[in-house]
């Protein structure tokens, strides 16, 4: 099998090509071209030509993109309009009435993505059962069409109260506008997310409208790039839920791509954990400006419907990832007498002081360079030149401010605080949820992950760490492990008893039908589709739900809910009335899997040519001699004691004192504490 993963991140666009018959892996990074991401994609694909790797016979091409993410973060979506029930035009501005900054004289919240003058209310109303109590007046829509045309609106979101029970009014308005203005994109709340809670539903529908035309353009230029390189099979796009789909489907619900760029890493970590048959894993992806953490519990990735981006809720199923502002570029600074590292970052430009691009603040990368952990001649495969003297200068200044005795002490201090911040994020996805971190394995990747793996494991009392074979591009690799997946949700809101069963059945059928159609559109046969049914249940009077598997016995569902409730909150109330809030359907098609190339078998002792040098590194308050190995020359079965360093093109692995590492046959490293 021949697969190509293209993952666009904030700083770099990563490429990984796997030919499982030949047993080769080819990878490279190019700078992300922010204005038009397909330019970077083209450059990266050209590099394959230079390496004489043809792409016309690719079996799979999977793409993770941050086009949607960036458009939202930078408020650069298209000029959009919102049509609501009259009297509720300001819903997206009022939000939940709360402010995002508790202690400020100037309370703020997210800026609505549609300005007041482009928000229109029209007379129509459904009651809480979805019955029409005020019919829609078609002549009002005609007036609206004129306004949309005059304002040169590119995209329209429509969200009416209770439309999740009855989409008729939304569909009528969409049809009329669509006929008059065929070039305008229209997003309906009853299609994007037919569930109750009007702010969340309207907000996510607006997000969809705001980015849909951009995504369509982007996907077109992406398609053009890969067609120019004779890629025959249609590419797959990674969704925030960790599933993939064809571009045609992805443009139907653009909002599902908003966390596309975050999902790849978790999938990569999941692949590693499955391969090594480890059920409980914390994944850790340390990049240049941010760090992403997620948990895999009992062999499954956690999915949440309570995510948000830049303050806008995204109540659709997404992989639960925590992102914090900590990475190689994080800046160390004294604030109110204590040292803080991040969330401010020097980014890629100017970058850490050692880049010599004008950065004057000490960063995590500078500190690691001073400690001797990073090889200045082999940073990013030697393609980025870095200068140790610059790092020493800025860390010396910090050391004086901190009244410390030496530059290395300050460097280690910066790293300790950085690692403490990352450890707290790891705690949020483990111990804070009542999970015992000691039962977990840490899977570290991203350019910076493997350098901090042992220290972070120790902070969480974790005894085992895995490092994937290509940590720097593991998110791109993760793309290649995804399956086709479509998630559909619908609100029910009825008491959980036998009389609800027929309604549940017809509603499930409706969603299943939609799911099957999406999979068929992706080019698959109905026989290959796996359907997963779930229900969200709560106790009457509660304002939050828990998801359990659908069973056709009411009592069984009730019992599962009670036991999940017991586990989550420490008690259950089996005798209190229960209600069904939402139903969920996932339509999945498993894609064929490739295998990673195997390393040649070696002895316990690594081959002599893999040992590059001995270098002094600063660990736990003193300079120590560490052996430096080259990853490419290590063999399966090699074992190395810490303190030592393993260098590879896309990352550097630190094996701490009292730890040892073993090289596995597929290129993973497994590190254990004595």
């Amino acid at each position: 099998m021949k697969c190509l993963g293209i993952d666009i991140g904030g700083t770099f666009t990563d490429f990984i090509y796997i030919d499982s018959e030949k047993g080769t892996v080819t990878l490279h990074k190019v700078s992300t071209t922010t204005l038009n991401q397909s330019i970077g994609t083209n450059q990266g694909i050209e590099l394959f030509k230079e390496k004489s790797i043809p792409l016309h016979d690719l079996d799979v091409l999977v793409h993770g993109t941050t086009v949607a993410t960036n458009a939202i973060l930078e408020c650069k979506g298209v000029k959009s309009s919102l049509i609501t029930t009259e009297g509720f035009e300001d819903l997206i501005e009022i939000g939940r009435q709360n402010r995002s900054n508790l202690y400020s004289f100037y309370p703020t919240r997210v800026t609505p993505l549609v300005q007041r003058k482009y928000r229109f209310g029209i007379p129509e109303r459904l009651d809480a059962n979805g019955e029409i109590i005020l019919p829609l007046d078609p002549s009002v829509v005609d007036v609206l069409i004129e306004k949309i045309r005059d304002f040169q609106i590119e995209s329209v979101a429509i969200s009416f109260l209770f439309s999740f029970f009855n989409p008729k009014h939304e569909m009528d308005v969409a049809q009329t506008i669509g006929k008059a203005l065929p070039d305008i994109h229209i997003s309906l709340s009853s299609w994007v997310l037919p569930v109750f809670r009007e702010y969340d539903r309207t907000s996510v529908t607006v997000l969809d409208a705001y980015i849909a035309p951009l995504m369509k353009n982007y996907f077109n230029s992406f398609l053009e790039v890969i067609r120019n390189h004779q890629v025959r099979n249609p590419p797959l796009i990674l969704l925030s839920s960790g599933g993939v789909t064809q571009i045609k489907n992805a443009t139907q619900k653009s909002v599902e791509t908003v966390l596309s760029g975050l999902a790849g890493g978790v999938l990569g970590g999941y692949y590693s954990s499955q391969l090594l048959q480890i059920d409980n894993v914390l994944t850790l992806d340390i990049g240049g400006t941010s760090t992403d953490v997620a948990s895999i519990v009992n062999g499954s990735i956690e999915i949440t419907s309570e995510n948000e981006i830049s303050g806008y809720p995204i109540p659709i199923p997404t992989i639960a990832v925590q992102t914090i502002g900590a990475g190689g570029g994080s800046i160390a600074k004294l604030n109110h007498g204590i040292l803080q590292v991040g969330p401010n970052s020097a980014g890629a430009d100017p970058g850490p002081a050692c880049y010599e691009k004008g950065g004057i603040d000490p960063t995590v990368t500078d500190a690691n360079l001073v400690r001797g952990l990073i090889n200045p001649d082999y940073f990013c495969d030697g393609r980025i030149k870095i200068n140790l003297t610059k790092s020493e200068e800025v860390i010396t200044t910090l050391s004086n401010d901190l009244k410390l005795k030496s530059v290395e002490e300050a460097a280690e201090g910066v790293i300790e605080i950085f690692e403490n911040n990352v450890a707290l994020a790891l705690r949020k996805v483990s111990t804070e949820k009542g999970l015992d971190s000691r039962n977990f394995t840490l899977c570290c990747f991203g350019g910076g992950g493997p350098l901090h793996a042992c220290a972070l494991a120790q902070r969480l009392s974790i005894k085992q760490v895995i490092i994937p074979p290509h940590p720097g591009v593991w998110s791109a690799f993760g793309l290649l492990t995804a399956d086709i997946k479509h998630d559909l949700t619908k609100s029910i809101i009825k008491p959980l008893n036998y009389s609800v069963l027929p309604y549940l059945e017809t509603s499930f059928n409706e969603l299943v039908h939609k799911g099957i159609k999406l999979c068929i559109d992706d080019g698959f046969d109905e026989k290959e589709i796996i359907i997963i049914k779930e229900v969200d249940i709560r106790l009457v009077g509660q304002s939050y739900e828990l998801t359990v598997s659908y069973q056709d016995e009411i009592e069984e569902m009730s019992k599962s809910f009670d036991s999940v409730h017991e586990k989550a909150y420490g008690y259950s109330s089996p005798n209190a009335p229960h209600e069904v809030i939402n139903i969920r359907v996932s339509a999945v098609v498993k894609l064929p899997k490739f295998s990673l190339p195997k390393l040649p078998l070696g002895e316990d002792i690594p081959p002599p040519e893999s040992l590059m040098e001995e270098r002094s590194i600063y660990l736990n308050g003193k300079w120590e001699k560490a052996a430096i190995y080259k990853k490419d020359l290590l063999r399966s079965g090699n074992k190395i004691l810490g303190p030592s360093i393993i260098e590879q093109a896309d990352s550097t692995v630190l094996v701490d004192k009292d730890w040892f590492v073993e090289v596995l046959e597929d290129g993973h490293l497994i590190m254990k504490k004595f």
Partner: protein, 524 residues
């Protein structure tokens, strides 16, 4: 021994995180919408002498209230009275003080390290009912605290880890929704136990003595950072007076007066001149006044200074005994926490604005508390919500519209969730255009919400700024006052007072217009 700055920085972060983690546990385990969705709770860590070590609060009205609770507990018990596993609970604003209003129940657990009492972990949560004359325990027209619910003086709900069933059953016999109370009590305890566990882990890592000494250093750092800001404060005395529309029973305005002095390294905030305690429920326990003062100075200096006892060491607060702001039992207090608190902030900011041009004009100055309920019909119900409004404009920005300001930050209930459960239809929920005060910079607009009753309903309103409007600054205009009214089914429009209880029937529409924020600077 001095801890180095690196370890000090890590310890600070760890302590903040323990307070936050307690909050995560409380929210996850709690039953009621108040904790779960509105985040009406706070968690804190204190040292054994009752000094604040770290705190995580979601609404500022809890900021100063936590440590007056701690003070009360320490005054009430001897240090050697505490045993591991004890949990003291209380909500009483009187004899001893420490409470805010009765629905806020505090839990306190002593933390023992190497068998020595080393910390207290505490939390406080707003319970949606603690008994009293009306569901929700916030009766709009109460005249003494006994009407507002069950008063809990400091008592041990757990001794040595064993639950005192007798106290528990006494409490549960006095509240309306027992299961919910029980669920939230369990959540409050679970949060304390998590804090206890984490502090012990931290002490194990650093050693008890180093940890306690580091905490003292952190308090000094906070004190220092705060003092640095004091250097640039003016030497003159600042005064301001503003009024509550009503005392809760009659429409006689209630005066709140403040004088702020900066002497050397100290700030003295005196409320001398404020009216005496009132017949209605506008009286405000001292702990709420502390919250307001700390809130204002925290924003005025630098909100990123570590929140611990050091931060507030240089503020001294003087409140005349028996006044609106330090009432004596049995004054009613249910509205002090939610309404009077907002006016205290307005008065403090009004004084400080004379010296600090960065201070904005007045925000809506109320929380617009609306309770809807019915005991008739087949399904009795109660529903409570607060409404946002406009915030004041500042020197370089317009105010924000339709948002909660100052002492609160709770979320609204989705309209669809509301209509699915209760017999109402929302006709309008929108920004009240042009209600912000004009000026070089405009005040934020309020909200207009119209709710149609689909059955007989008792409406109870506690709202302010219906008479005295939110002030503008530097000749900016004041924001529009709020208006409460009813459009009867027959079309007749009735204006309602700021505080009222009114009976409505099917087809009547309740209309609440919340105040706009004040403008800043005269627009030519």
């Amino acid at each position: 021994m001095k801890t180095d700055l690196i370890n000090l920085s890590i310890i600070q972060k760890a302590l903040e995180n323990i307070a936050e983690e307690m909050g995560v546990v409380l929210r996850r385990a709690s039953f009621s919408a108040n904790c779960k969705e509105r985040l009406d709770f706070s968690c804190a860590i204190f040292n054994s002498s009752g000094e604040l070590v770290a705190q995580a609060e979601h609404i500022p009205v809890h900021l100063g209230a936590m440590f007056s609770t701690m003070e009360t507990v320490l005054a009430h018990y001897r240090i050697d009275d505490f045993k591991p596993g004890d949990i003291v609970i209380l909500n009483s604003p009187y004899n001893p003080t420490g409470g805010t209003h009765l629905p806020d129940i505090s839990f306190i657990l002593p933390v023992f390290i190497n068998k020595k009492l080393s910390f207290f972990v505490t939390n406080r949560a707003h319970h949606s009912d603690v008994g009293g004359s009306t569901p929700g325990s916030m009766p709009g027209t109460s005249t003494e605290i006994y009407q507002e619910g069950l008063i809990i003086p400091p008592v041990r709900l757990y001794s040595n880890g064993i639950e005192n069933r007798e106290i528990l059953s006494l409490i549960l016999a006095n509240v309306r929704v027992k299961e919910e109370r029980l669920g939230d009590f369990r959540a409050q305890r679970a949060a304390l136990l998590r804090g206890d566990e984490r502090l012990k882990e931290l002490a194990l890592e650093y050693g008890r003595e180093v940890l306690l000494e580091s905490i003292n250093q952190l308090m000094e750092l906070s004190e220092q950072s705060f003092s640095e800001h004091l250097q640039k404060f003016p030497k003159e005395e600042l005064n301001y007076t503003d009024f509550l529309d009503s005392n809760g029973v009659t429409d006689s305005p209630v005066k709140i007066q403040v004088e702020i002095k900066f002497i050397g390294n100290k700030i003295i905030v005196s409320f001398e001149g404020t009216d005496k305690q009132q017949i209605g429920n506008v009286n405000c326990p001292k702990s709420v006044v502390y919250s307001c003062v700390y809130y204002v100075f925290r924003v005025l200096t630098d909100p990123s200074i570590m929140t611990n006892a050091g931060l507030f060491r240089n503020i001294s607060i003087e409140i005349p005994k028996g006044s609106l702001l330090d009432p004596k039992t049995p004054a009613a207090v249910s509205s002090g926490n939610v309404e009077t608190s907002q006016r205290i902030v307005d008065v403090l900011l009004g004084a400080l604005a004379q010296a600090f041009p960065e201070i904005p004009a007045a925000s809506q100055g109320t929380m617009n508390n609306i309770s809807l309920g019915s005991t008739r019909g087949t399904q009795p119900f109660t529903y409570y919500e607060t409404l946002g409004g406009g915030t004041g404009a500042g020197k370089s920005y317009n105010g924000t519209s339709a948002i909660h300001s100052h002492m609160t930050n709770t979320l609204n209930t989705p309209i669809e969730a509301f209509e699915l459960i209760y017999p109402f239809r929302v006709i309008k929920y929108a920004i009240r255009k042009n209600s912000g005060g004009h000026g070089v910079n405009r005040g934020g607009d309020g909200i207009v919400k119209e709710i149609e009753c689909l059955g007989d309903t008792t409406v109870s309103i506690q709202s302010e700024r219906r008479i005295f409007s939110p002030y503008g600054l530097y000749k900016g205009q004041s924001g529009k006052s709020g208006v409460n009214s009813v459009r009867k089914k027959n079309g007749e429009l009735l204006t309602l007072p700021g505080r009222t209880i009114v009976e409505l029937s099917s087809g009547d529409i309740l209309i609440i217009k919340t105040p706009g924020g004040g403008g800043y600077g005269r627009k030519e």
